[in-house]
């Protein structure tokens, strides 16, 4: 059955009727950034409207797609990342599709079997409050080891890996950096030195970060947060109030896939192609504050000026994460809360 659908999707058979609308299910943060302009030229070219369904966070999105595998809610899914990708691939919810511009994507981001198409990536990195470091005359730490010192760790807020996606990404960065034998000792040192753990990004950034009145001058956020601080500053400014520590970053990639139960695999494939096209890709930075996967897409000036793309961010394969995630989180909990 799945095979037949794959063939149908690849053969480009003329039997498929073109629908009036095609449905895209995505996580809430993507759906919230969709405006009438987002898919306008897709509709113009194909005559097909795009209906967007918001399906909660990334975990809920994938689980709902699996639960409705036989009677899908949508034709295309967007927003699955490496941490949930294995679950979706194991359940075979996607049709194979090699997107038109896939050769314009850095090979490291591409799924070799083309079950999913990379659309964007973002780097989770520690951000720091520039004014705090200026007033205390402290040097900004430049690697993860520096953070073991009380002086720094007691001013760092991280998010909980069980409840927060950047929280898990940062834990993965420490595993990448210190290896299976050293990462738990690292966290034991951070705990000893007084690191603060928040539940999610919102309460870490807007509750604990000194820029918003909290106690921590460093917080786990994204490499693209400084441009957002400039764009959404209360008064126009040309300097970012926050900076990014380039060491200890973790790269998250978000993928789109054609849902196997779709009645319109061809149009669904066109929508995925559109999402990887330069036109759509150039919308990505300012709408969702992540980086376009297509290397031909030009970055907006704010990103060129204030964002940082770390040179060698940490990254694990989806299957490696799937095999170890629960164990890692449980071990982390024992060290941090035990």
């Amino acid at each position: 059955m799945a095979l037949a659908l794959v063939l149908a999707a690849c053969s480009g058979g003329a039997s498929e009727e073109s629908p009036q609308t095609i449905t895209l299910m995505a996580h809430d943060s993507f759906a919230g950034g969709v405006t009438s302009a987002t898919f306008a030229s897709f509709t113009q070219e194909t005559g097909v409207e795009v209906k967007v369904i918001a399906a909660g966070d990334a975990g809920l999105l994938v689980n709902q797609a699996i639960l409705t595998k036989d009677n899908p809610l949508a034709d295309v899914l967007f927003g699955v990342d490496d941490t949930f990708l294995s679950r979706a691939l194991d359940e075979e919810i996607f049709l194979i599709h090699k997107a038109k511009d896939i050769n314009r994507v850095a090979p490291g981001l591409v799924d070799r079997k083309h079950r999913v198409t990379p659309i964007d990536f973002g780097d989770v990195c520690i951000n720091y409050d520039k004014s705090w470091f200026e007033s205390t005359k402290l040097v900004v730490p430049d690697d993860l080891d520096d953070l073991r010192a009380n002086l720094y760790a007691s001013h760092l807020t991280v998010e909980h890996p069980a409840t927060s996606s950047p929280g898990l990404a940062f834990v993965l960065a420490t595993i990448y950096e210190f290896g299976e034998e050293g990462w738990l000792d690292y966290w034991a040192d951070l705990r000893e030195a007084g690191v603060n753990v928040a539940t999610d990004w919102n309460s870490a950034y807007y509750g604990d970060f000194s820029r918003y009145g909290g106690q921590s001058s460093m917080v786990v956020s994204y490499a693209s947060s400084p441009p957002a601080e400039v764009i959404f500053a209360a008064e126009p400014t040309d300097t970012a109030p926050t900076g990014v520590i380039e060491a200890g970053c973790y790269r998250q990639v978000e993928y789109a896939g054609i849902l196997a139960g779709t009645d319109y695999p061809e149009v669904a494939a066109k929508l995925v192609d559109f999402m990887l096209s330069v036109e759509f890709q150039e919308r990505i930075p300012l709408a969702w504050f992540v980086f376009p996967a297509n290397q031909d897409a030009e970055l907006p000036q704010e990103f060129v000026d204030y964002a940082i793309v770390p040179e060698d961010p940490a990254r694990f394969s989806a299957s490696h994460i799937a095999e170890n995630r629960d164990r890692w989180i449980n071990e982390w909990i024992v060290v941090m809360e035990g």
């Binding site: 299910m25 809430d28 943060s29 759906a31 919230g32 950034g33 969709v34 405006t35 209906k51 967007v52 369904i53 918001a54 399906a55 909660g56 966070d57 975990g59 809920l60 689980n63 709902q64 699996i66 639960l67 409705t68 009677n71 809610l73 949508a74 679950r87 909980h160 069980a162 409840t163 753990v197 928040a198 539940t199 999610d200 990004w201 919102n202 309460s203 950034y205 807007y206 509750g207 918003y212 009145g213 909290g214 956020s221 994204y222 947060s225 400084p226 957002a228 601080e229 400039v230 764009i231 959404f232 500053a233 209360a234 926050t242 300012l286 709408a287 969702w288 504050f289 909990i333 809360e337």
Partner: protein
């Protein structure tokens, strides 16, 4: 006799179909799916889960008791006395109830509360005070003053009058409010996650973790059943209590508030100011931050990322009015059915209607997407949003109308029947005038439940329509001073709307009774 029974069935049909199709069926489907694969031996049903269940029960009980105590002074003041600002005070206290947890959580964290059991309990009291004040004062304000006067003439002190006369009459309403606060805190999710961290997981948090993060549906289903059993047990105990304590006496049609004088004046002022003051502390931080830039103006401008934020207000109001309509009709019909017939059938009907409030939102949300694809595909339909809100709101309508309906002596209805009135006429002439005030309190809660996006909607695929809470969440999801300031401004808009509309509903005219 047969005629009456058929009438009962007809009135019962709508609430029964509503709860059956939108709650029992979806929940049964998803639990069945999970349990089919459950392997008790291999699953992690261990000491940790027992601890979580114990903590859930303990914190909910303690939160309920603390909320009852914290709400008592204000409830007394607004029930007994008429004073300037009384309506405003009862409307203002509903504001915390509707605010998104993420907003209140950030305010609590920035005030230095956080990661403690005290923060969780304080937040539960903060959110639920309105439930107690509004549910209890509906009944209290209409106790026949002659009862209390008679006791006083017989030499009882004020305290004795309260303890021996007033309190026994209030017990059904207090128990009704307590049952709702208990269910709300028993299934607490956002508050526990944001303010307690991972250490203080409730069953609700653990169900989410198992179902979403780990995708262990069998274990999540087992936990959901533990949660349902706990909730059912608590509700059963409550309904037995309610039946034992139900006292019938003639409620006054209008309220009997009097102007406070002397020492009472000072006490009333103290109760009102202290309660409103305490609830305002987290709100003040929010208001201050919303005014630290031109954030309100920006709500009306087109933001490149989220569009015009203020446009979410229209969507929220539309959903809230539809949800309120559904919940009020279903809830009042259900309450009429429950009072119309004593016995175990009606007790279980009542209990089932309360369950959505005590069932994890993930369970209901996943149930929706596996069950509601047929005969009409309601999944991801716009209608599902007000329906999901109404599911959570019906218990409020039932709980606020039942104590009042039960207080109508059966003889009154019988007398009317003997004189030839049809059952529907008895209902219209006797029950409706008395119950409508209480139904309005329930309706106001239904409205507020929807405005605050309670229930399964945040856990289920929905059309991409922004409401006020999703817009706040969206703004809070990106860095930058204006993002944060606009989110705070939006939260203040939500607060003002809530207070304003609750005041408006409170003043509404009902039937021929005129203004309350």
């Amino acid at each position: 006799m047969g005629r009456i029974r058929w009438g009962w069935v007809a009135v019962a049909a709508l609430p029964a179909v509503f709860i059956g199709y939108f709650f029992i069926y979806p929940v049964a489907r998803i639990l069945g799916l999970g349990l089919a694969e459950l392997n008790i031996g291999a699953s992690g049903l261990d000491a940790r889960l027992l601890r979580i269940a114990g903590f859930t029960l303990w914190q909910a009980t303690l939160s309920t008791i603390l909320t009852l105590l914290a709400a008592a002074p204000l409830t007394w003041a607004v029930s007994t006395y008429e004073f300037r600002g009384r309506r405003l005070a009862t409307a203002l206290i509903t504001v915390p109830f509707v605010l998104p947890t993420v907003v209140v959580g950030t305010a609590f964290v920035s005030l230095g509360f956080g990661d403690s059991i005290w923060a969780i309990l304080a937040a539960h009291v903060f959110f639920n005070t309105a439930v107690v004040v509004r549910t209890v004062s509906t009944l209290w304000s209409r106790i026949d003053p002659h009862l209390e006067e008679a006791a006083r003439v017989l030499g009882a002190t004020s305290w004795e009058v309260f303890r021996r006369v007033t309190l026994p009459l209030l017990k059904p309403a207090v128990a009704a409010a307590a049952s709702i606060v208990f269910l709300f805190t028993f299934t607490s999710f956002g508050v526990v996650l944001i303010l307690g961290g991972f250490e203080y997981a409730t069953l609700e948090v653990e169900i989410y973790r198992q179902a979403v993060t780990l995708f262990d549906l069998p274990l999540a289903a087992a936990l959901a059943i533990v949660q349902l059993v706990g909730v059912t047990g608590a509700l059963y105990a409550y309904s037995r209590y309610q039946e034992r304590k139900a006292v019938t006496w003639t409620l006054e049609r209008t309220s009997n508030r009097r102007a406070p004088s002397g020492a009472a004046r000072a006490l009333v002022a103290l109760s009102v100011l202290a309660t409103i003051g305490a609830l305002s502390i987290p709100l003040l931080a929010l208001v201050t931050r919303s005014f630290s830039g031109e954030f309100y103006r920006r709500l009306f401008e087109s933001d490149p990322v989220v569009g015009r934020p203020i446009s979410a207000v229209g969507n929220s109001l539309l959903f809230a009015f539809i949800a309120m309509g559904i919940a009020t009709v279903v809830g009042v019909m259900a309450a009429a059915v429950i009072t119309g017939r004593r016995g175990s059938l009606s007790r279980w009907f009542d209990l089932t209607l309360m369950l959505p409030l005590g069932t994890s939102a993930v369970t209901i949300g996943f149930g929706f997407i596996v069950a509601l694809g047929w005969p009409v595909d309601l999944r991801a339909s716009l209608w599902l949003i007000p329906i999901a809100h109404a599911l959570v709101a019906v218990p409020f309508v039932v709980r606020s109308t039942l104590p009042t309906l039960r207080s109508i002596p059966a003889e009154t209805r019988e007398a009317a029947s003997v004189l030839g009135a049809s059952p529907s006429r008895v209902w219209r002439e006797i029950d409706l005038p008395i119950v409508s005030r209480a139904a309005l309190v329930g309706a106001a809660f239904a409205f507020v439940v929807s405005l605050g996006e309670f229930g399964a909607t945040s856990f289920v695929a929905r059309p991409n329509t922004q409401t006020i809470p999703t817009m706040i969440f969206r703004l809070l999801g990106r860095p930058g001073e204006t993002s944060f300031g606009m989110a705070m401004a939006m939260a203040v808009v939500l607060a003002v709307l809530t207070a304003g509309i609750v005041m408006w509903i409170d003043r509404a005219q009902v039937g021929d009774i005129g203004r309350f």
